[in-house]
C-alpha cells in the first residue's frame, strides 16, 4: 500500500511538471462546454429569407409584416423578381423565397382562394423543412385572422407541453453529449500516451524491474488521471449550473459515482490502445483522430440512433460514451433515480472489466 502511494506520487509529479498540458487539460473542456452551451442550438433563428411580392397589395403586405415580426426570420429588405430566385439561392445566404403571385389579395378577397409559393434551399433539408413549418403556421394564422371571427364548430384544439425543457432551451441536448465526448477523448488520450511515453523513453523497463507488480504500475498511472478528470467534471458541472443555468434535477452523488465508472471505462480503453501502439504519435492519432467522429456520431446526441441501420445501432453499443450520455441525460435533465439507469450502469461496468482484462493480458505478454 505504501509502495502504491509512492508510485502515485511519482505520477502526480510527472503530471504537474508539465504545466502547459495541465492547463490545456482543464481549460479545454471548460472552454468547450461554455462555447457550445451558448452557441449550439437546434432551433432555427434569423434565417434569411427573400420575398418576391408581385401583388403589392394590403394582404401580401400584411403577411410580409407578420413574417418580419417573427424572430425566426430575417427578411431581405429589397424584394426580388421571380427570375432572380435562382441567383439568390445560389449565393447561399438566403434559405427560402416566398412568392406572392400577381393579384394575390384580389383573388383572396373575391375568389376566396389565393396561392402563395414557397421555394426553399433543399441542400439543407432540415432547415428547409423547419422554415416551411414556420411559414405555413404564420400564413395559417393570418388566414384565421381575416376569416369570419365566429368560432368554428367541432374544433379539436391541441395543447403541446414541452417536458423537461419548458423554455425550449435549444442547447440542452448538447450539454450531456459534449460532456461525454470530451471526457471520453481526454481520458483515453491521456492514459494511452502516459503508458506509451514511458515505453518510448525506456523508463517502463525501469518501473517493471522494481519489486512492484506490473498491475500496480498501471493502477498507479490511472489514479492521478482519475482524480484530475473528476475535478474537471466538477468544474464542468459548476459551469452548467451557474453559467448555463442548466439545473441538476437528480442525485449529485449518483451522478458522481456514474462518472467515476465512466472515467474508469475510458482509462481502460486508453490502456488497451497503449498496448497495441508503438509510438506516441500513433497512440494519439488512434485515440483522438480515429475515435473522434465515431464517438460523436454514435453517442446519439446529434443523430438519433434509432434512425440508423441495424449494424450501426449494434456498433453504437460498443461506445462507452453512448451509455454515459443516456445516464447523464436521465439523472441530470430528467431527475430520474438509479432504477432507470441500472441497465446502462451494468453495461459500463461490464465494458470496463472486459477492457481491463484484455489490456492486462496484452500488457503482460508484451513484456515477457
Amino acid at each position: 500500500m505504501k509502495q502504491l502511494l509512492v508510485f502515485v506520487k511519482k505520477e502526480f509529479y510527472q503530471v504537474f511538471r508539465d504545466r502547459r498540458t495541465l492547463l490545456i487539460m482543464f481549460g479545454l473542456p471548460v472552454a468547450q462546454i461554455l462555447l457550445f452551451g451558448f452557441a449550439l442550438t437546434s432551433e432555427v433563428k434569423n434565417a434569411r429569407i427573400a420575398i418576391s411580392d408581385n401583388a403589392v397589395d394590403v394582404n401580401s403586405l400584411q403577411i410580409i409584416q407578420k413574417i418580419r415580426a417573427s424572430s425566426n426570420f430575417l427578411v431581405d429588405s429589397d424584394p426580388i423578381n421571380p427570375n432572380q430566385i435562382n441567383t439568390v439561392l445560389k449565393k447561399g445566404d438566403v434559405k427560402c423565397v416566398v412568392i406572392f403571385p400577381p393579384g394575390f389579395g384580389n383573388d383572396l378577397i373575391h375568389l376566396g382562394n389565393a396561392r402563395v409559393q414557397i421555394i426553399t434551399d433543399g441542400s439543407d433539408p432540415n432547415t428547409a423543412r423547419t422554415l416551411l413549418n414556420y411559414l405555413t403556421a404564420i400564413i395559417a394564422d393570418y388566414q384565421k385572422e381575416i376569416s369570419t371571427p365566429e368560432v368554428l364548430p367541432y374544433s379539436i384544439i391541441t395543447e403541446t407541453r414541452m417536458l423537461y425543457n419548458e423554455e425550449g432551451n435549444g442547447s440542452l441536448n448538447f450539454i450531456p453529449g459534449v460532456l461525454a465526448l470530451v471526457l471520453m477523448i481526454v481520458c483515453t488520450a491521456l492514459t494511452s500516451v502516459a503508458v506509451v511515453r514511458e515505453r518510448e523513453l525506456g523508463t517502463m523497463e525501469v518501473l517493471l524491474v522494481s519489486p512492484f507488480k506490473p498491475v500496480m504500475v498501471l493502477i498507479a498511472k490511472a489514479i492521478p488521471y482519475l482524480i484530475l478528470s473528476l475535478v474537471n467534471f466538477l468544474l464542468i458541472l459548476l459551469l452548467c449550473v451557474w453559467v448555463l443555468h442548466v439545473p441538476i434535477l437528480g442525485s449529485i452523488v449518483l451522478l458522481f459515482l456514474e462518472t467515476i465508472l465512466f472515467i474508469l471505462a475510458c482509462l481502460s480503453f486508453g490502456l488497451l490502445i497503449s498496448t497495441i501502439t508503438h509510438s506516441q504519435q500513433s497512440a494519439l492519432l488512434l485515440s483522438i483522430m480515429g475515435m473522434m467522429i465515431p464517438t460523436l456520431v454514435f453517442t446519439g446526441f446529434l443523430f438519433p440512433l434509432e434512425n440508423m441501420p441495424l449494424i450501426f445501432r449494434l456498433i453504437s453499443n460498443l461506445i462507452p460514451a453512448r451509455w454515459y450520455y443516456l445516464i447523464v441525460k436521465s439523472i441530470m435533465l430528467k431527475g430520474l433515480g438509479f432504477e432507470y439507469v441500472w441497465k446502462e450502469t451494468l453495461v459500463l461496468t461490464g465494458m470496463t472489466l472486459v477492457l481491463l482484462i484484455i489490456s492486462m493480458k496484452n500488457f503482460k505478454t508484451r513484456l515477457s
Binding site: L108, I156, S282
Partner: protein, 370 residues
C-alpha cells in the same frame, strides 16, 4: 536547390512510417463510406404512445390517421398519463398523446375538445418537428370530422393555399447535405492533426536542432513541411470526391475546377494552422490536445450539423473566423447548387486571407534558436 533536399527529407520521412501513411488514406475513405449512413437526420420515426381515455370510434379514427401519416410509430397504448410518462423516462417514447374521456361526445355537445401532447423536449429538433407534424395531421383530421358531422363543408372564409418546392434536393434527402460536409471534415482532421504533430515531433526527437544549424531559411522550412502534406491532402480530397460519386451517386453540379481551386487554397490555410500549433507546442500531447480543441470547434460550430444563423452573433463571428466554415459552405454550394466562381468569391477571399495570415504567423513564430 536547398528546397529540393528539404523536400526529399520530408517525403522520405512520410513514406517511412507505413502505419501513418495507411491511416492517412484508409481512415478518411472508410469513415466517409460508413459515417454518412449513420448520420440520418430525417425525422421519420417518432415514437408515440397514446393514452386513449375515450375509446370511441372517433379516437380510433384519429389514431389510425396518425399511424398512416408515415412519420409516427406507435410503441404502445398506456392506460394513464403516468404510465405513458414512464415510457418517456425509459427513452422508449418521444411523444405522448392524451385523448380525454368523453372526447367524441363532448366534441359534438360542446363544439370543441382539447387533446394534449407532451413531448420529450430535450432533443429540440425532434420535439419541434414531431409536434409540428402531429399538429398538421390533427388539423387535417379536424377538417374531415367537421365535414362529416355537418354533412356539408363549412365555408371557412378565404383560403390561402401554400405550395412549396425544395430546390437542389427535391426529395429532401439528408445525404446530399451531409456527405460533402463530412468529406471536408475528414480532410480537415487528417491535415490538421498530422501537420500539428509534425514540427513538435522533430522538437521532441531533437532533430530540430540539426535543422536549426543549417542555412535553411525559416520560410523554406515551413514550405518544406507544407508541400508534402498539401499533396497528400489533395489526394485524400480526390479520393473523397470519388467515394461521394461512386458510393453516394452525388455528382458535383458545379465546376470541378472551381472546387479544386478552393480546396487548394483551403489546404494551405489549414496546414498553416496546424504548423502554427506545432510551433507553439512543447510535446506531441500538447499539440494534439490543442488541435483537438480546435477540431471540436470546427466540427460543431462550422454549420456542419447545425444551422449557422441560429447561433448568437458572437458565435457566428467565431464561425466566420474559422477557415472550415467557408469551405463547407462552398463545397455544398458547388456540389449541390452548381454555384459559380463569382458566387463564391467572398469565401475565396476569406480563405486567401487566412492562408496568408496563418502561414506568416507560423513562419514568424518558428524561431531558429532553441
Amino acid at each position: 536547390m536547398m528546397m529540393k533536399y528539404l523536400l526529399q527529407k520530408e517525403f522520405r520521412q512520410l513514406f517511412r512510417d507505413k502505419a501513418i501513411l495507411a491511416m492517412m488514406f484508409v481512415m478518411p475513405t472508410v469513415q466517409l463510406i460508413i459515417i454518412p449512413l449513420a448520420m440520418n437526420f430525417d425525422v421519420k420515426n417518432i415514437n408515440i404512445t397514446v393514452v386513449d381515455l375515450d375509446h370511441s370510434s372517433l379516437s380510433q379514427r384519429l389514431i389510425t390517421k396518425i399511424g398512416s401519416s408515415g412519420y409516427f410509430r406507435f410503441i404502445n397504448t398506456s392506460a394513464s398519463y403516468k404510465e405513458a410518462l414512464q415510457s418517456i423516462e425509459k427513452e422508449e417514447a418521444d411523444l405522448i398523446m392524451e385523448i380525454p374521456d368523453g372526447f367524441e361526445r363532448n366534441l359534438v355537445r360542446e363544439g370543441s375538445q382539447k387533446i394534449s401532447l407532451s413531448v420529450d423536449a430535450i432533443n429540440g429538433t425532434k420535439a419541434s418537428l414531431g409536434a409540428g407534424y402531429l399538429t398538421t395531421v390533427m388539423a387535417d383530421f379536424n377538417q374531415h370530422v367537421r365535414a362529416d358531422l355537418d354533412g356539408h363543408a363549412i365555408a371557412d372564409g378565404p383560403v390561402i393555399d401554400v405550395t412549396y418546392s425544395n430546390w437542389f434536393n427535391p426529395s429532401g434527402e439528408y445525404k446530399y447535405y451531409i456527405v460533402p460536409g463530412v468529406l471536408v471534415l475528414l480532410l480537415t482532421m487528417i491535415g490538421g492533426f498530422l501537420s500539428a504533430l509534425n514540427i513538435v515531433k522533430e522538437k521532441e526527437a531533437g532533430t530540430m536542432e540539426q535543422i536549426n544549424v543549417t542555412p535553411i531559411k525559416k520560410w523554406q522550412f515551413i514550405l518544406g513541411k507544407m508541400i508534402p502534406f498539401w499533396i497528400m491532402g489533395m489526394i485524400v480530397f480526390s479520393l473523397g470526391l470519388l467515394v461521394t460519386r461512386l458510393i453516394y451517386g452525388i455528382h458535383p453540379a458545379g465546376s470541378l475546377a472551381v472546387l479544386y481551386l478552393f480546396a487548394s487554397v483551403y489546404l494551405v490555410a489549414l496546414l498553416g494552422f496546424g504548423l502554427l500549433i506545432s510551433t507553439y507546442s512543447d510535446n506531441q500531447l500538447q499539440a494534439m490536445f490543442v488541435a483537438f480543441f480546435f477540431m471540436m470547434i470546427f466540427m460543431l460550430m462550422s454549420g456542419l450539423f447545425t444551422s449557422l444563423e441560429s447561433m448568437p452573433r458572437w458565435a457566428r463571428t467565431i464561425a466566420d473566423l474559422t477557415p472550415i466554415t467557408h469551405f463547407i459552405k462552398v463545397v455544398r454550394m458547388i456540389m449541390l447548387k452548381g454555384s459559380s466562381l463569382s458566387d463564391i468569391k467572398t469565401e475565396l477571399g476569406y480563405e486567401v486571407i487566412f492562408a496568408i495570415l496563418l502561414n506568416t504567423w507560423a513562419i514568424w513564430n518558428y524561431k531558429k534558436t532553441a
